[in-house]
């Protein structure tokens, strides 16, 4: 296993420690070490590492940098909201705070290069310096010249420095239109099921045997592998549900070898976890509390998405219903639904070619204010005066984001709206006012 990590420039023991910390990533770490070369050798100016989330990009860089004690500046592009912060961090971690304080108030790229060069001549690099940029896809949103300059920083500052970019997306969508120095591309593939098993089974509980924990991970992967291959997520789920898995053992109902019994016990529990805690409907803390309280069935606590019930004033409810009807019904059918004396028109006669598709699949359509009010007056039984309060309720529905304004904000005359609530939400609301919305929807005719 450690045979892959051999490099003349570094001590054997350290490489061994690195290999222990990087299960299933020896190949990538070996490639990186080969690219980096011995500490005093010049490395390639820029390396671009891409791979899915939780494929160990940052971890590998972190372990390599810390274990081999390489001079490095690890910068997260999310934290560096402005370019000066990035420059400051790099200078800070290479040359200490004196250098960082030399930067002028709003430093440009050339200021950075100048100060870097100046510091570099005072303390020349004995080893390759590494700048590790995490989430580097955000570099594309900064100044257009930053990414090309970072890619050839070695040339600019005339120092033994290598920039390592970590990203989840491919290099093709990074390349600036004016071209740039091409970095070396390195892919971190996803962990396979076996590799996930190997990594997850490392953090076992000390009071249980390794085989027991392995069988637990096996069951967990059997449930979750089809929907989730994210190591972090799986690790989190494994930690959350392990106590439930051990329950039969503590109660003395089963032994460690009763795999089938244990599986029977945990499987419905994991299935429920997929619908609740995996979707963050129920927070991890609530989930743990639910496991403590035996009698209450897990999932009985209402999740986040069950809290969609909103208390609205009476007319607001009708306004929202009217908006929903206006959004999802074609305007031609309004006569048929909302006038008293209309001829019966069957749906087949109404259908145009492009309306075969359900309006609910196409999403809401914009409607003018007049139509909203017309439908509103026909669905409300009593006589309602068009007072200021009715109109202000419309605009407060917009601020609650239940309606959206489609035309310009400043338009007073005939503004257009869209209804932004789901079918479930509106049927819940119409039930509270005893209104049968399905009868009025063209799609369900």
């Amino acid at each position: 296993m450690t045979a892959l990590l051999q490099h003349p420039g570094y001590e054997e023991q350290r490489l061994q420690r690195v290999a222990e910390q990087l299960p299933c990533r020896e190949l990538q770490a070996g490639t990186l070490l080969a690219l980096m070369g011995e500490p005093q050798q010049y490395s390639y100016p820029s390396i671009f590492i891409y791979g899915h989330r939780a494929s160990g990009k940052s971890h590998v860089m972190d372990v390599l940098m810390s274990e081999l004690e390489l001079p490095n500046a690890t910068v997260s592009c999310v934290e560096c909201v402005s370019v000066p912060l990035l420059f400051e961090q790099v200078l800070l971690s290479f040359f200490g705070c004196d250098a960082a304080s030399l930067l002028p108030r709003s430093p440009s790229l050339s200021d950075f290069v100048r100060i870097y060069k100046q510091q570099c001549s005072q303390s020349p690099a004995k080893e390759t310096r590494y700048i590790v940029m995490e989430k580097s896809e955000l570099l594309r949103d900064t100044d257009a010249n930053l990414l090309p300059a970072l890619l050839r920083l070695q040339e600019l500052v005339e120092d033994n420095v290598t920039v390592i970019l970590l990203s989840e997306i491919v290099w093709d969508v990074f390349r600036p239109n004016t071209g740039c120095f091409e970095p070396l591309l390195l892919n971190f593939p996803d962990y396979s099921k076996g590799e996930l098993l190997q990594i997850l089974s490392q953090d076992r509980h000390p009071s249980y045997s390794a085989e027991f924990y392995l069988s637990y991970i096996n069951i967990l992967l059997g449930v979750f592998y089809s929907v989730c291959r994210d190591l972090r997520e799986l690790r989190h789920l494994a930690a959350l549900n392990f106590s439930k898995f051990c329950e039969p053992l503590t109660e003395g109902k089963a032994k460690e070898t009763d795999t089938h019994k244990l599986w029977k016990n945990i499987e419905p529990h994991l299935k429920k976890a997929m619908q609740t805690v995996y979707l963050r409907e129920v927070s991890s803390l609530q989930w743990e509390q639910m496991q403590q309280m035996e009698e209450r069935e897990s999932g009985a606590v209402r999740g986040l998405s069950a809290h969609t019930h909103v208390e609205l004033p009476y007319y607001s409810k009708f306004l929202l219903i009217a908006a929903y009807l206006a959004s999802y019904n074609p305007a031609r059918t309004d006569r048929r639904f909302f006038l008293k004396h209309h001829g019966k028109i069957r749906k087949t006669n109404f259908l145009k070619k492009n309306e075969k598709m359900s309006n609910h699949l196409l999403g809401p359509k914009p409607f003018p204010l007049d139509r909203l009010l017309a439908i509103f007056y026909s669905v409300v039984d009593s006589r309602v005066a068009p007072t200021a309060s009715i109109f202000s309720q419309i605009s407060s529905l917009v601020t609650l984001q239940l309606l959206t304004l489609v035309s310009h904000d400043d338009q007073l005359d005939a503004p257009k709206y869209k209804c932004a609530v789901s079918m479930d939400f509106i049927s819940a609301i119409s039930r509270t006012v005893n209104f049968d919305i399905v009868k009025y929807l063209y799609d369900f005719l």
Binding site: P104, D172, V173, N177
Partner: protein, 396 residues
């Protein structure tokens, strides 16, 4: 600290070398920076400007003149020569003495800097732009009987354009004041500049004293070169004629003409078998220099592109023909690219390779591309004509 350093061209440490042979002699004479004392072929324009400025200086009045012409027709050189002559005449007391101030729109970071520069050159005072405008306003509007006439040359006038046009307005308004004694000569490239960008009150103050410099004809260009060379026998007659005819046909730019001649002398020097015994610059050398100057680099770039890049260009044209449009998405072109690869018997090409080829072509501006973050939906257009691409791809 280096933050306050002024950028400058490094100064020369060694003295300039004396020319050793005929060709080097010719090259120094043909250099654009060695402006001769008298400009041939611009006698009429010289006379016009001279008499305009002279009459204003003698009368002690002011006025504006607008000079236009394509680049390389000797506008600035002629005006400078006029000023030199007038200065000479003023030195021998034939006309009253005058100040000459020159500003260049290209050398300013902001149009309002014009005030600062004029003030500094007139009085040596330093002031902010607003203050300088006030001071100049006062200077040109208050009576000062002993004041000398000021001749102001404004080069690259179009860059002094601001949204309110106050800089231009002031420049043209000051000469109309009674006590100003200011002559403004303005130079720009286009003839209809006053009509195009100036509002009426500015254009009317500029007045109708216009002069346009026509591009040089081939005879004039030939004359310019011969006068520059001044009896140095370095060129064959036919070669000179070819250069001037070519340049006259394309632009009539004298600077371009001189550049080509200088390049031809270099080519002649390099192609000679023996460095000491170089002959005259002949037809072939001039032809080579002309080719270098005028041939399109795009075709050479396409010819030298890699196989995949050339295939991509062919795919672009094939897709344009299929769609009947001059624009396609990368996705559409890539399908053609793959098909072409199959036809050519090359290995299948991946999307990343295809995009790399596409973006390399975009970086050297053979293609016009949208930002690369659009992915496969990035739209592709050709920056060269289809005929050029086909010619370049067919040639081998």
């Amino acid at each position: 600290t280096p933050r306050h350093a002024t950028p400058s061209i490094p100064s020369r440490t060694l003295a300039a070398r004396q020319p050793t042979n005929v060709l080097e002699e010719a090259r120094t004479r043909l250099h654009v920076s060695s402006v001769p004392e008298s400009l041939p072929c611009r006698e009429q324009e010289f006379q016009d400007i001279y008499s305009f400025v002279e009459s204003k200086i003698i009368d002690g009045t002011g006025g504006c003149m607008y000079i236009s012409g394509v680049p390389g027709t000797g506008k600035t050189a002629t005006v400078h020569e006029v000023m030199r002559c007038l200065q000479h005449v003023a030195d021998v007391d034939e006309i009253p003495p005058f100040n000459f101030v020159e500003i260049n729109g290209m050398k300013m970071t902001d149009p309002h800097q014009a005030y600062v520069q004029i003030l500094q050159k007139l009085t040596g005072q330093k002031a902010t732009a607003d203050h300088a405008a006030v001071l100049l306003e006062k200077r040109f509007s208050s009576p000062a009987p002993r004041q000398e006439t000021t001749v102001l040359l404004v080069d690259e006038l179009d860059l002094l354009w601001t949204r309110k046009q106050n800089v231009m307005y002031n420049l043209f308004d000051w000469p109309t004041r009674r006590h100003a004694r200011l002559v403004v000569l303005t130079i720009a490239n286009t003839m209809d500049l006053p009509e195009r960008i100036m509002i009426n009150r500015v254009a009317s103050r500029l007045g109708l004293t216009r002069m346009s410099f026509q591009p040089y004809g081939f005879k004039q260009l030939q004359q310019i070169i011969t006068s520059r060379l001044n009896k140095v026998k370095a060129f064959e007659e036919d070669a000179l004629q070819l250069v001037s005819r070519k340049v006259a046909a394309l632009s009539g730019d004298a600077r371009r003409c001189l550049d080509i001649c200088r390049r031809a002398t270099e080519i002649c020097e390099h192609s000679a078998p023996d460095p000491s015994a170089t002959g005259l610059v002949g037809m072939s050398h001039v032809m080579e220099a002309l080719d270098e100057m005028f041939s399109s680099p795009y075709i050479t770039a396409i010819k030298c592109a890699s196989v995949q890049e050339q295939l991509f260009l062919r795919a672009v044209i094939a897709e344009f023909r299929r769609l009947g449009l001059e624009e396609a998405t990368f996705q559409q072109v890539f399908v053609q690219h793959q098909a072409l690869c199959r036809v050519e018997g090359l290995g299948p090409v991946g999307v990343s390779e295809g995009r790399a080829a596409c973006q390399r072509l975009g970086a050297c501006r053979l293609l016009l591309l949208e930002p690369s973050r659009l992915g496969l939906l990035q739209r592709v257009r050709l920056n060269v004509s289809q005929d050029d691409v086909l010619y370049a791809l067919k040639a081998d």
